[in-house]
Each structure stands twice: as C-alpha cells, then as structure tokens.
C-alpha cells in the first residue's frame, strides 16, 4: 500500500471581486498517493486551476483567501505555513508547470537561468555546478544541443521546447509532487504526444506523483490512474480511471463523455449539455449541476449532495445514487 502524499480536506478558496465573492473552490477533498497520477478534469472556470494554485499558496492575493480546509502534504498543513516556509517547499518538494510556457518563462533571461536559480536556491549549488546540472537536465528532457540552448531566450524556442524547459525546471530538485496545469493545451497534437510521453517517463524515473489538470478526457484515460471530475467549484465524481470510463455514474460525467466527438464510435448526433457553466458568484442552490441535468429530481435543487462511496473506490455526489 502506497503512502498518502497529499490530502486536501474540505478546501474552500474564495476570491473577492467587485461583483461579489467568487466561490472558486468550494469544499473540495482529494487524496494523492505517492507516485500516483491523479487527473483533475473539468471545463474552464470550474475552479481546477484555483485548486492547484491553492495547494502552492499561489492564489491571487489579496483578493483570494482560503476560508476553510486543510492541505496536508507529507504530514504538514500547507494552509498554516508562512510565505517563507512555502517558498522553501515550492520548486523543491512540490513544483508546477503551467499551460502557456511563453508567459511562465521570464522573457528577459536565458532559459537556462531559471533552472540555475532553482538549483542554487534549493540545493545550494555554486553557479558553475548549477550550470553543469542544468545542462544535464535539459538533456534529460531531450533538448538537442543543451549547451547552446541554455543561453537562448524563450522567444527563440518553439512551444514544445519551452514546455520541455519548464519541465526541466520543475523537476530540477526531484519534487515529490508535480502539478501540471493543462501542460499541453497550447501545443499541437504531435507535440502534445511528445510532452505527455516525456512527463510519463520522467515521473516513472523520479518516482514523482503528478496532479494532472486538463479538460481533455482522452489525456486522462491515457495518463492517469485516478480521476476527479470537477464542476462549478466542487468535485462530483472520484474514481480510478478504468471504472470511471467503464461506468461513469454522475450525470455530468456521463454528459461530458456523451458530448465528446469520438473516433471509435459512429458519427451520430452529439449529446450536447444544455446551457453553460454557472457563475461561481451565485452558484445554483442544491446540486450545482441541477439546472443542466436531464435526470434531476425535486431534491436536487434543495439539498447539496455529498460525495459518497457508491462502489469500492468510486465516489459520487448525486442524489440519484
């Protein structure tokens, strides 16, 4: 049995805006075991990125705050940590890669510099040691001619190369947990396949656990062991990947799978979900999916369903079950 690496309990992260309080993460619990890949799926604006940022204490300040909940990482509660303590964890024990490597790499520094900085800060290497190590890391993420590339600037690299640099930087200190927030959304499919293979191979080698955030159910099916489906700030279904795709139980998960154009099925009309994602300032009462749900019952608009284990290892938040 693998050990629990990260345990998020009843986390609520709210953002204060001029329109009101956005309840971006509203009572989320999840667990990641060591060396495991958990896929977090949901549509844009469902709070999945805010959840990731909350783990690292990177949510926008001062608008954002964690109003409730615990984030236990290797037995320590990250919510209680000071900024200084978090800084020592970020990049060392938990790292993150973002969607658009053009905006997350600093345009005025050579790409190798970011890696050198991480190594000097967290590992106490000297500059020349860190340079040698950075070259090794760039070679590990299969960047050709790393000695030359490391002195180039982000705009001189292609999107795929930039994402490789981000990965090298994130894995420089062999973190226990890697948070990948839509790492391939900005890339083409052939490059996406390269990057996902790379993450999978390095994860295996370094025994890192991965929280993979994506809106693409195909990526989840291929690269994750477990899945959590998020809708409007809450998790509606959690399971291992095989039983989720074989027996999706929450109406939202089923609708999401039905709305997907498939390569393997016949080309019939798609099962569209009516309406659009709700506003998180005033989410619907009761179950947040009920206004769009085909199977709603009166109780759905009155009482918020709780996540319950319906089958072994398969949790669903729905009144129907």
């Amino acid at each position: 049995m693998k050990k629990v690496l990260l345990q998020v309990e009843n986390l609520r992260t709210y953002l204060t805006t001029h329109r009101g309080v956005v309840r971006a993460v509203d009572g989320v619990s999840l667990t990641i075991l060591e060396e495991e890949t958990l896929g977090l799926v949901g549509e844009s604006g469902c709070g999945k990125s805010m959840l990731a940022l909350s783990i690292l204490g990177l949510y926008p300040k001062p608008q954002g705050r964690i109003v409730e909940g615990k984030i236990e990482f290797e037995g320590e509660d990250l919510v209680q940590k000071s900024e200084e303590e978090l800084r020592r964890i970020r990049g060392k024990r938990i790292s993150m890669i973002f969607q658009e490597p053009m905006t997350s790499l600093d345009p005025v520094f050579p790409v190798g510099e970011g890696i050198v900085e991480v190594l000097m800060l967290h590992q106490g290497l000297t500059r020349s040691e860190a340079r040698r190590e950075a070259i090794r890391l760039l070679r590990m993420v299969r960047i050709p001619e790393p000695e030359r590339r490391m002195y180039q600037y982000p705009h001189q690299l292609s999107g795929g190369m930039r994402q490789r640099v981000m990965i090298a930087q994130a894995l420089a200190c062999r973190p226990k947990l890697l948070i990948a927030d839509e790492p391939t959304t900005a890339l083409d499919v052939t490059v996406q396949a390269q990057i996902l293979e790379l993450i999978a191979a390095l994860k295996e080698e370094m025994k890192t656990a991965v929280l993979l955030i994506t809106h693409d159910l195909g990526i989840v099916a291929e690269h994750c062991q477990k899945v959590a489906v998020m809708y409007a700030g809450t998790i509606v279904e959690k399971s291992d990947v095989f039983s989720l795709f074989a027996r999706p139980l929450h109406p939202y998960t089923r609708a999401l799978l039905g709305a997907l154009p498939r390569l393997d099925g016949k080309r019939s009309r798609l099962e569209a979900i009516p309406g659009s994602v709700p506003d998180l300032i005033a989410p619907p009462l009761g179950c947040r999916f009920h206004p769009r749900c085909r199977e709603r019952i009166p109780r759905c608009s009155e009482e918020e369903p709780r996540l319950r284990e319906v089958e072994r290892g398969h949790e669903v938040a729905c009144h129907l079950l």
Binding site: E43, V241, F245, A259, L260, P261, L263, R269, E271, A272
Partner: protein, 325 residues
C-alpha cells in the same frame, strides 16, 4: 456533379521585411494546393498550427489576395474578377472565425451586427431586415429578445451562435468555418457542432471546416484533407481516411490523439521534433525531416499524387507516385 468550389494550384507567399542589402525572404504559407468542394458537403481541413490552413481559407474567400492559382466558384474564376463584380460572390461565400470574443464588434448590439450584412448587400427595407434578423436568430437558437444586447453580455457559445447567424443571414452556399469550436468548452462545443450540422441540412450548405481537432473533424466531415507546411499530403472520404491512413504524417497525427478509453492500447509512433519553418521549407517532400519512413528520394523530389481509390489521394514516395487522377 460539378463542384461548387474548385481550388487549383493555389499559392500564397508573404514577403518578410528583410534586412538592408539582403535578399528578401518569403514565407511559403500555401504552396500549390488543389481540391474541390461539392454542394451540401463538409470538407474537413486538418493540420497543425502554422501549416497554412487559415491562410488557405482566407485566400479562397479573397480576404487575402493569393499569389497564384485559381479558385472556381460554380465554374467561374473569382480571383480574376474585379472587386466590384466580386462583391456579388461575397454574399454566397461566408466565414465563421475561431474566437467569438474577438470577431464581434463590442460597440454594436447583436441586432446591428446581424443587420449589417443585409444593409451592405442592399436590403433597403428596415422591416424586411428586422424580420430576417429575427428569423435567423431563431434558427441558430438565440432568443430574439436578447438582440438588443451587446456581445459582452453573451457567453462564448451564444457568441459563436451570433457569428454563425451573421455568416448565414445572406443565405450563402459556401461557409468557411475556421476553428469554430476550438475556443469553446466540451459541453458547449457539442451544441455548436450539432447546430452546424442542422443548418447544413436545412440550407444545403457546403462547409470548409478547419480544425486541429481530429475527433471534431471525424465527427463533422464527409471528406478530410490533411495539410502539412503549406501542402496537402492526403485527402480522402472520412471513413476511409480514418480506417486506412496512408501518409506517414496522417498516421502519426492519428496516433497522437489521446483516446478517452483507458483500455485502448495504441501502437505509438510519436513524431520527433517540431514542424519546420515555412520560411525555408525542407526540399522534396516537406515532411521528410520528421518522417519515420523517409527514403533518399524524399529529400530530392516532391512526391507525386497516388490514388488507391478514385477519391483517395496521397502525396508520398512510399506509394511509387504513379499518377492516377
């Protein structure tokens, strides 16, 4: 049946502002593309970022002036027409863009956005215009009561409905859909794809459907053309292309798509490297620098067309390049 739109050897080069005293460089965005589209049909055009698919579409509509080649619309070469005469063709061919946030004027109400094409194309009667706008809104599933609102008051999916209504209000025969669902979430994407299919049936539209999403193209197209770095490498009816892709690029593309089924085991053929720059494209077959099956001839001569079946054409040296067209 004669094609509605026929593209013959279309080319578009962009001149780069070169350095002083140096020879000017060209971006070879579209380099000799030919295909045809029939009435009521959807031709899917897939390819990666920068392969020239949007440039190709804009050249067909003359939103960009092509460098060479011809575009026949119902047999008439529209590239040779003076712009004044071409205007009559504009209402018969329309476009829906990718980003419904950027392609609607934020200072106009949805009503005036939809009304404008009618004014431009000479509908003088305000009452007739209003009736047409309301009828069109209804057709694309927009509540006519919301027509006085501004684009920012609509969600992404609704805005794309506005864009579709704007394209269809002149009752065109041919519509270019340039990544119309790429900016939308899965649940909304399905609504828009269904809408496009319904409208096609109702109005007998021909679509050129541009996308990088292979699952979407498989869903909506009757035929698919695969583009790589300014050239079409393979074109075939959808079912046939997906069952029997012949070009190594098409094969690699298909094998790169993540399949939402954890029990599915693929034979991986991950392509190496990134697509090369269209400023100095590779010689011979443009794919040879990344091709796992390249031969010596590939870097020397551009491949000839090969047709295993009448509707399936592939440009690859692996198949001998016997010309059967």
């Amino acid at each position: 049946m004669s094609p509605l739109v026929e593209v013959r050897n279309l080319k578009k080069h962009f001149v780069l502002s070169g350095e002083w005293g140096k020879e000017r460089a060209f971006v070879d965005a579209v380099s000799g593309v030919s295909f045809s589209i029939f009435q009521g049909e959807t031709l899917g055009l897939v390819g990666e970022t920068g392969c020239g698919k949007s440039t190709l579409a804009r050249c067909i509509l003359r939103l960009l002036e092509p460098t060479g080649g011809s575009v026949l619309f119902r047999g008439k070469d529209i590239l040779k027409l003076p712009l004044k005469e071409f205007k009559a063709y504009r209402r018969r061919m329309q476009i829906v863009f990718q980003d419904p946030f950027a392609s609607l004027n934020p200072r106009k109400t949805v009503f005036s956005i939809l009304e404008e094409p009618l004014i431009i194309h000479g509908e003088r009667n305000p009452r007739a215009r209003r009736e047409k706008v309301e009828a069109m809104a209804e057709q694309v599933g927009l509540d006519p009561r919301l027509l006085r609102n501004y684009p920012h008051e609509f969600s992404g999916g609704q805005r794309q409905r506005v864009c579709i209504a704007r394209a269809l209000i002149l009752e065109p025969e041919f519509v270019v859909c340039d990544e119309p669902v790429s900016a939308l979430d899965v649940s909304v994407r399905a609504q828009i794809l269904n809408l496009l299919s319904e409208l096609q049936e109702r109005m007998h539209l021909a679509y050129l459907f541009i996308t990088h999403d292979l699952a979407v193209v498989h869903h909506i197209s009757h035929r698919v053309a695969v583009m790589y770095l300014g050239t079409i490498v393979e074109i075939a009816p959808t079912e046939e292309l997906f069952a029997n892709p012949l070009h190594p690029y098409t094969q690699a593309l298909f094998e790169s798509i993540p399949v939402p089924n954890p029990t599915y085991k693929r034979k991986r053929m991950v392509l190496e490297g990134d697509p090369p720059s269209p400023i100095h494209p590779p010689s011979g077959c443009r794919f040879h620098t990344r091709c796992p099956k390249r031969m010596e001839v590939c870097s020397v001569h551009p491949p000839e067309a090969f047709s295993p079946t009448p509707e399936h054409v592939v440009f690859c040296h692996l198949y001998g390049g016997t010309k059967v067209i």
